[in-house]
């Protein structure tokens, strides 16, 4: 793996739109060419080099390219957007749309990320060591095709609307989540190791939610089925299985009605 290091030197007054920070874009370029890639601050277009020191050089292919982002990047959007291969490591925080529409490769953020992380994600692997904002692994507005595949792991807490319109892949929240989990989900799996609030699984068609902790208010459309023992992300325990959302339509497979599944640890 060849590494390119970006170090924030001039903070933007507003926010930076840096969708060019991706192994797919960097691969095969010289440090100078990378520094000349455009970023946007508001309506003004500038060069990446205006804000970042660029060192090291990428490999010829995205898959062999690693990007390390240093400094205060709390106000940088779109890091790793649409990336298909390679790795990005952000040492601090990142703003919105980190790994949005991601197709492959790995993103590691040591700090926090804001809203819309991994929206429309198709594949790859995102790890957030801090907290994640709202609409994690959700769908873009109006789209019924949310997260399709890949894995998102958040070591801290996540905001509201996690896995909105989720169709596939896996989201693991090691902390707590805010309201609305897997709303409109038709597939995929969300593991919450901390506590949930309310509105969990509302309007869910298919898919799985597993909650280790508490749920403030259970949705009325979830019906207790049975207790099951399962191994979940390294923990084996007994869970109460609920089917829902009974207020939603549900497809049939081989005469069997397919429900969304909500497991809560007992």
């Amino acid at each position: 793996m060849d590494t390119v290091t970006l170090t924030m030197k001039n903070l933007p007054n507003l926010y930076l739109e840096a969708d060019n920070i991706s192994p797919d874009v960097f691969a095969g370029k010289k440090a100078q060419e990378i520094a000349e890639l455009h970023v946007f601050e508001g309506r003004e277009q500038f060069q990446l080099g205006k804000y970042f020191d660029v060192s090291g050089s990428p490999a010829a292919a995205a898959a062999d390219t690693r990007i390390v982002v240093k400094g205060d990047t709390t106000r940088v959007k779109y890091i790793g957007m649409k990336m298909s291969a390679g790795e990005i490591m952000v040492e601090g925080n990142a703003d919105m749309y980190t790994g949005a529409w991601m197709q492959g490769g790995k993103i590691l953020v040591k700090g926090n990320v804001d809203a819309f992380t991994g929206i429309g994600m198709k594949g790859g692997d995102i790890t957030i060591e801090g907290d994640a904002g709202n609409y994690l692994g959700a769908a873009y507005r109006g789209d019924w095709r949310g997260m399709q595949g890949g894995t998102i792991r958040v070591k801290g807490n996540a905001g509201s609307d996690t896995g909105y319109f989720m169709n596939g892949g896996e989201i693991i929240i090691e902390g707590d989540v805010d309201v609305h989990v897997a709303t409109h989900a038709e597939g995929g799996r969300i593991i919450i190791k901390g506590n949930g609030k309310s509105k969990i699984g509302g309007q869910m068609v298919q898919g799985e939610i597993i909650v280790f902790g508490t749920i403030d208010v259970m949705m009325p459309g979830f019906k207790y089925i049975e207790d099951v023992e399962m191994e979940v992300d390294g923990t084996t325990a007994n869970f109460a299985l609920y089917h829902g959302d009974l207020g939603e339509r549900h497809p049939k497979k081989k005469g069997q009605i397919m429900y969304g599944k909500l497991y809560q640890m007992i």
């Binding site: 809203a115 819309f116 904002g133 709202n134 609409y135 905001g159 509201s160 609307d161």
Partner: protein, 133 residues
């Protein structure tokens, strides 16, 4: 000093609408919107008469308004400030990434504030912006 905790919502009233169109700098607007509608049982808990000034405090700010008896009650536990700068001094700016602040369902504390004044909309907003209120 007794403090009671209530759940705050805001919204339109016909008096708010009329006063707003009559001019937000006028007293009528303050009379229509610089108030908090409380259930009689909650007024009793607070130990306040009708039409006493109270200080309303939330995690997001604080404002002095006149406490009046609910006109569209009963709604014990729920308090109502007509939409306007008084309500918005304490509403929850959290949009849950939808663009919409949480104007309804804000946990508040209320205490009697006899000798504090209810500011006009313009005074209130100007002072808040200068960090004086």
């Amino acid at each position: 000093m007794t403090k009671i905790a209530l759940n705050l919502i805001s919204g339109r009233t016909i008096q708010q609408g009329v006063a707003m169109e009559g001019g937000k700098e006028k007293d009528a607007y303050t009379k229509a919107c610089g108030i908090i509608e409380m259930d009689p049982s909650d007024l009793k808990k607070l130990g306040a008469w009708r039409s006493t000034n109270v200080r309303v405090t939330s995690p997001h700010g604080s404002v002095v308004v006149k406490a009046v008896e609910a006109t569209q009650g009963p709604h014990p536990g729920l308090a109502y400030i007509p939409m306007g700068p008084w309500a918005n001094s304490v509403t929850d700016p959290n949009t849950y990434s939808t663009g919409m602040p949480t104007f309804k369902g804000v946990p508040i504390e209320i205490e009697v504030a006899m000798d504090e004044k209810v500011l006009s909309s313009v005074e209130l907003v100007q002072k808040k912006c200068r960090g004086e209120a």
